[in-house]
Amino acid sequence: MRPDPTQHDPHAHLCSDHAGEGPTVWDLPVPASLKREWLELETRRHFLGRTGKALAWAGLASILGRNPSTAFARPGAPVSFAPHFAPKAKRAIYLFMAGAPSQIETWDYKPGLTAMYDKDLPESVRGGQVLTGMTSSQARLPVAPSPFGFTQHGKAGHWVSNLFPYTARVADELTVVKSLHTEAINHEPAILQITTGSMFAGKPSIGAWLSYGLGAMNEELPTFVVLTSKMPVRANVQALSNRLWSSGFLSPEHAAVALRSGGDPVLFLNDPEGVSRDVRRAMIDGVNAMNRDLYESVGDPEINARVAQYEMAFRMQASVPDLTDLSREPQSTWDLYGERAKEPGTFAYNCLMARRMAERGVRFTQIFLRSWDTHGDLPARIRDLAKDSDQPTYALIEDLKRRGLLDDTLVIWGGEFGRTVYSQGGLKPDNFGRDHHPRCFSMWMAGGGVKRGLAYGETDDFSYNIVRDPVHIRDFHATILHQFGFDHNRLSFKFQGLDQKLTGVLPAKVIHGLLA
């Protein structure tokens, strides 16, 4: 199903942000209502399902005065639009800490907990909340303070965990949000909700919406890229799947291209021996010609998406090797990111790749780092995870900053929910676990027009309930779209009888307090 431009804003100037020689939407003199009607007629179900409409289609073709399949867009050209208003961010890098990092050890400093060590969590704080099956059978819920100290950093005086000595150096760039909350209590629905806005699989991811709304900055590279990272520790690891970066009901070209963490970044991208680039080009041209014939006869827009994928793959054959060739990086890069950045697939390598993609105009890069799901052995595991990710995270911010890219690059760090203040299982000062906690969790953002050095929202003394400025995931999404120039209520796509939006049907608000 192709994005319907008329859904987006029928009076928008349909200015696609894609290069190329073919006609672009600048060229369209066709009224929006006709386009909408035509697109509706063109979808497979309508077209093949009702022969009566086929006649109408032919009629419309004569109204348009040309073949309908060429009247709108060249096959494969993503249809995209200008934002509703001037955006602050051009691109985003989302450091996704899958498994849910504990807010208590990272960004939500609760000094009062030390005195509460091994005391029971007051019933009034829990407020009768139903616990997960993992801790509901526990005889008691003993409070576990963070074994890691916190120190204030920067002019803003952010309290930063001693787990993050590097990130602390750029504390003044960060806006820390301590009051995110969600409904989901288990990983898969929670990750789906924060990446796609819905606990149910099948919705487009944030990056897919941005690709749909904005198009590519660089035609040679995917608009939306996912990088998965090698894990420093392997325990309680949840699988990642392309549900988290799919295009859902949007056209498939808006889905992320996931670069692999080991071996070839993209499988089967290299031409086999004996196949030259010219031969490959000729082959793709041939297949495209057949696909276009098919499109002319059945009008299924999925065919155009397929053509686009072939073209993208062909372009990536040239652009990805250039992207992943780190041999020309100056020494200052390795000083900044550390030597581990030379090893493909590490979090450090991925952060460096994210900066390289930001430079080249990839809109949305999402880096996944897993195994933050610390039900047990939390102190040791979180120390390893922080050690692996702290320096690269700092390096990314610092690198974007010194290259003048941070102003219009939104960097986001966070997981899918929070963790409980009480210990799961036995509690020792240096060994305990924390269960899932959806009522509050912390994230931070930097660049892209958000405030610098701000701490937003507040939780109670147990980091259990939010006491000030709650931010729902929907609000978080609305705020991201706002930074890219979109009114989240107007960036929509008609599917299953609903104007589908990233923020769904429940009310969502842009958190203006976060914005510079």
């Binding site: 029928p10 100037h13 003048g404």
Partner: protein
């Protein structure tokens, strides 16, 4: 109430008497009930400006459909009566009764639907009340005329005397009065007189029409400079609001937002009413068009339910919308002079005058240049991308797909399009110092990215002319720090330069 058939006069009197007594009673009662009913509707459920159930509004909106039938029918009745006075038109007399009763039915239906529209459709005010009164009186007059005519036919001309033609003429008069008010409700109070020729105006005692209002500052100035031609207002500076905004509202909005028809509780017939606003709160937030309900409504997609003007009325022009935006953003003053505001107007003199508050000078709308934009894109394989859907947010020069195509020649070929560019993404492109001389002259350039290009300290000197620049990125270029000193000293400009970050 069935139309009574024309009875042959030969019917025996006794037989008529036999039936007429109870029938007359029924007729009288029915008429009384109608009178009571019609007067009760607007009295019990007046038009109070509230919107009610959409089903009621739906039926109410059939009012315009129904009302034209009784109008035409009623106009035809006297015509037929007059024709019937002559021998060749006599046969018409047989049909007049039928038509008159049809008029009665039609006007009753139109009246009830009209009340429904007024009650449910958010109308209020004197005009709509008068219109309703007129509609009720008209229905009653037509009913009376029909009854009188029946009497006339039955009892002969002597029975009702001159009453029938008098009532009929009164109904016609009421029709004209009521219909005119209906027209005013729909099209605005000055719909009819707006283009009325002056002799007719004088005759009707209306004020004479002014000359065509000055649409452009140039025209306004020219007019004022003509000696002797109404020099009165020249002494006082003309306010932007009165000269630009109010005429636009008058033409587009006031027909539904006035004291008589106050849709959504909003009046737009005066400055103070705009501030008070309507059911959705104040219509303007001085200084912030983006948060102003009025501006939001007029800039929605035209098929949006909330778009104004609604119901397919002619929308504000792009020019007027722009004026409104500027006027609100400049503080929405009722008496800021025309000259002051039009200085920042896109449409006024193209000379970039004093920059407005903090937004910098407004970029000219890119829409008129689309042809040129496309031609340049095709010629060079590069992109000029709109910052947003708003034409005056400018364009981004985007080269990321193939930066090597962006040469000095490509930049030179932009010509006047350069003034539309606010953001030039030239990282890794082939531009050199030569292009910088051109780029420095682009009047609205705010961000310039020259990362990893061949520009040198000499080229950067020419950027001193680019006074609107906010961010300059010279990462991984050979530009020396000494050449950057004057730029770094400039307030509001951030310079990024780190020669060591280049590739090996």
């Amino acid at each position: 109430m069935s139309p009574s058939p024309e009875k042959p006069t030969s019917l025996p009197r006794a037989a008529e008497n036999l039936y007429s007594r109870p029938r007359r009673l029924v007729t009288a009662l029915l008429c009384l009930a109608l009178v009571a009913g019609l007067s009760a509707l607007p009295l019990l459920w007046p038009a109070d400006g509230q919107e009610r159930s959409s089903l009621a509004i739906f039926f109410g909106r059939l009012h315009p459909l129904f009302l034209h039938f009784p109008i035409a029918l009623l106009a035809v009745v006297p015509l037929m009566e007059v024709c019937a006075l002559f021998r060749r038109g006599r046969h018409l007399r047989a049909s007049v009764g039928f038509i008159l009763w049809l008029t009665v039915a039609g006007s009753l239906a139109a009246t009830v639907l009209g009340w429904l529209l007024a009650w449910a459709g958010g109308y209020s005010g004197e005009l709509v009340n008068n219109h309703m009164l007129g509609g009720c009186l008209l229905s009653l007059a037509v009913l009376l005329a029909a009854l009188l005519r029946r009497q006339l036919v039955r009892r002969g001309p002597g029975s009702v005397g001159i009453l029938y033609p008098v009532v009929l003429l009164a109904a016609l008069g009421l029709l004209v009065w009521t219909a005119h008010q209906g027209g005013q409700l729909t099209h605005g109070e000055r719909y009819l007189e707006e283009h009325m020729p002056n002799p007719l105006r004088r005759w009707l005692g209306l004020p004479e029409r002014e000359r065509k209002p000055a649409r452009t500052p140039a025209a306004g100035a020219a007019e004022a400079s003509v000696p002797g031609a109404t020099p009165a207002p020249a002494a006082q500076p003309v306010s932007f609001f009165e000269e630009r905004i109010m005429p636009a509202f008058d033409r587009t909005c006031v027909s539904c937002h006035n004291p008589n028809k106050t849709k959504g509780g909003l009046r737009m017939d005066g400055y103070e009413h705009l501030l008070v606003g309507g059911d959705s709160g104040p219509s303007i937030v001085a200084g912030d068009a983006a948060r102003s309900e009025l501006y939001r409504r007029i800039t929605l997609p035209h098929d949006d339910e909330e778009f104004m003007p609604t119901d397919g009325k002619k929308p504000l022009t792009a020019e007027e919308t722009e004026w409104i935006k500027q006027w609100i953003n400049a503080g929405a003053s009722p008496d800021a002079p025309l000259s002051e505001l039009s200085g920042v107007a896109v449409l006024a003199a193209p000379k970039a005058a004093a920059p407005a508050a903090n937004a910098g000078p407004q970029v000219p709308d890119y829409h008129p240049q689309l042809e040129a934009v496309r031609a340049w894109e095709r010629a060079w394989g590069l992109r000029l991308v709109p910052v947003s859907q708003s034409g005056t947010d400018g364009l981004i020069l985007r080269t990321a797909s193939s930066p090597s195509r962006c040469t000095d020649e490509a930049i030179a070929a932009l010509g006047a399009l350069g003034d539309l560019i606010v953001d030039a993404e030239l990282a890794r492109s082939a531009v050199t110092d030569r292009a910088l001389a051109e780029i420095a002259a682009w009047r609205h350039l705010r961000r310039l990215d020259l990362t990893q290009t061949a520009v040198t300290s000499r080229g950067v000197e020419s950027l001193m002319k680019a006074t609107g620049l906010r961010a300059l990125n010279l990462t991984a270029t050979a530009v020396e720090e000494s050449a950057l000193a004057p730029l770094r000293a400039r307030v509001g400009l951030t310079v990024y330069a780190a020669p060591e970050l280049g590739t090996k």
